[in-house]
Amino acid sequence: MFKILQKALTTGVVTAPYPRVPARLSESFRGKPEFDLARWKDARPAADVCPTEAITLVEGEAARRVTIDYGRCVFCGQCAEVSSDGAVRVTREFEMATRDRRDLIRTAEYALNPDGSHRALTSASTVDRARAAEASGRELREKIRSTLGRSLAIREVDAGSCNGCELEIIALNNPVHDIERFGIHFVASPRHADMLLVTGPVTRNMEMALRKTYQATPEPRVVVAVGTCGISGGIFGVNYATRGGVDQVIPVDVFIPGCPPRPEALLHGILLAVDRISSAR
């Protein structure tokens, strides 16, 4: 008993201060790939190597339309490796959660040279940077308290994932990420939940269980789709056994990219979703 007490008392603070200060990321961490569309000479090698069809091409008459869908990206970094012009770069950005699925998609159109490489960028979609603004931990805590009394109750639903996302959600509860410091906790029943945190791809065999869980959650309920597969079906896509992303089955309020999203990315997405609660009321 003494040893246990001693251990409990002698361990210092291990909790990471994110989001009050930026997350501590290792130098090797692979986050969002950034595309310098104007400088990009050829999208074909990247599209060819991309494991999940996050980069897709539509070839036209001496023109090419490139679509980059971060909702399908598994952050493997191969697109950067094969793009010899240096226009694709792996960054350490991970705060990519968004309320609008369309925010995760970028498009670019190119006029082509005879050899199929890009001659000129003719048009490109813009990204709404303002959405990326996020609240500090303290503001957030206050927001949750003011909207939900003291706490936010989350019900996690694995609707077919490989369990990778669950590992990172579980990590939110460890002493390093300690999500409870925000008054956020995980509950056993959807009836006690304010939020559903759903991973995918939604399988045919989980579709009904997911719908039932959604119906059992009292309103106003917030649904967060977690991970590449939860957003789009990921590498599994839609097939005889899967329905694809969570939004194919129930309405989704926030999407958190990542394969799986690191705990800080999950926290960031949950915070974004909480904002939604206050604006809906």
Partner: protein, 525 residues
Amino acid sequence: MMAVCQNLLDNFPGRMRLLESRSANEIYASLDTADLQEVTRSLLTQHGARLVTVFAEDRVNVEGAFYNYYVFERRGDPAYLILRAAIAPEQPRFPSLAVELPGVNWQEREIQDWFGLEAAGHPNPRRVALHDNWPDVHPLRKDFALHQVLPPFEGEQHEYRPTLGEGVFQVPVGPVHAGIIEPGHFNFAVAGEPILYLQLRMFYTHKGTEKLFEHLPIHRAVFLAESISGDSSFSHGTAFCQAIERAADIEVPFRARVMRTILLELERIYNHVADIGAIATDVGFVVANAHAGSLRESVVTLNEELTGSRLLRGCVCVGGVRRDWTRRQRETLETTLGLVEHGFGELVALVKSSDSTRDRLQRTGYLHPDKAKALGIVGVGGRASGVDLDARRDHPYAAYDCLDFRVPVYTDGDVLHRMQVRIDEVRESIGMIRAALAHLPDGPHRAPAQDIPAGRCALGVVEGWRGEIIHWVRTAPGNRLERCKIKDPSVNNWPALVEAVEDNIIADFPVINKSFNLSYSGTDR
């Protein structure tokens, strides 16, 4: 194994035939389904072999038949014997082995569901992989399209075995569970507190993975392999790459093999540490769990440092690993390893300091060694019940043939010893990583990319942290696959859980379940 095979050929003259084998460690032979039971019996009893896995393949369009494959191994012999039985589409059935070998119960029923081949004489021939609400389809047949749209799900109609007797109740749990865990259905028959028996219903997370493998180019399929079971990304990815490398005769550079070994052991450490913490939580020892949680966090942070991903994703590739390590990365590995070793020592001391924890874990969830052997249990659950199997030692891959390590085996068979196996293994892993790092050879970290020849078959085997992971591939033209069979150790081990919970009180179910910690996604694919 070659001698064993020769002996079989002699005993079944004209009925068995040696097939082309590309590797000395994979011997293929064909046999007649009519001889299957006898040949199997001879292999198990006379030759001391073990049936590793059973699976099927649709070759009707090309060779006019379905094939069933039976993979055998034998202690002290690195070669596998793979017996192939042709099944005519006009007579779609094969003799079941499940009466004598209960371990193949589910795997044979999977063949029924995926391919529409009947396991004749199976003691419980009901559907296992396709739920009862599925239409009459066989998704792994070549004439079934990956994107076929099936009628909407209308609720599960499975009938569980009825409970008989006064005061006996059924307690259904799932598929959505109370905790943050994967979905599956447990049906308990209880008499008051004690569990009489448990019925399982899995495949809720079935994602069409094996079918999907047939539709992806190999360089993309590596990522699918990483998504079979999220806590075993690196092991499944490596098993897959090893199968491709063997099929294509790709020589993986020694440096890459050592790097893979280190990463495979890191995967074992982070999962074992988390499980030790989770077992502690389930008996109310939260301080130990908090400590395990921080320790696991240091390991996954190290994973990220070494591979860019906390769960070791996007690192393994056909021919080696995708990136070499810098000096800084190697130094971080060395320093962190020291810290992990120290922290792990503290965790173990903490867990062992609590007599009440010991009391709760000892004799809880007992799996008798005879049962474990009969059911074909592998991995941690097997080694805690006397099943002395470890592919790292028995079928060395990566750099395991150059490392000294001990395989812990106990016969106590309870939760306490499933935890003890993990404790011993983490210590061994730390030693192995240290030795591997000290002798990290120079040289390339991956073989040059090359085209994968079509029509080749090969196994890839990895002892994941949970147990034996098997991938079997047949390659197709254009760097693609004709078939990819995946066997996660969880498939073997669910019967162990069913056996171990019997006569325990229902309140102990969570800790017993945790002590096996099987993968639903790995099972369901």
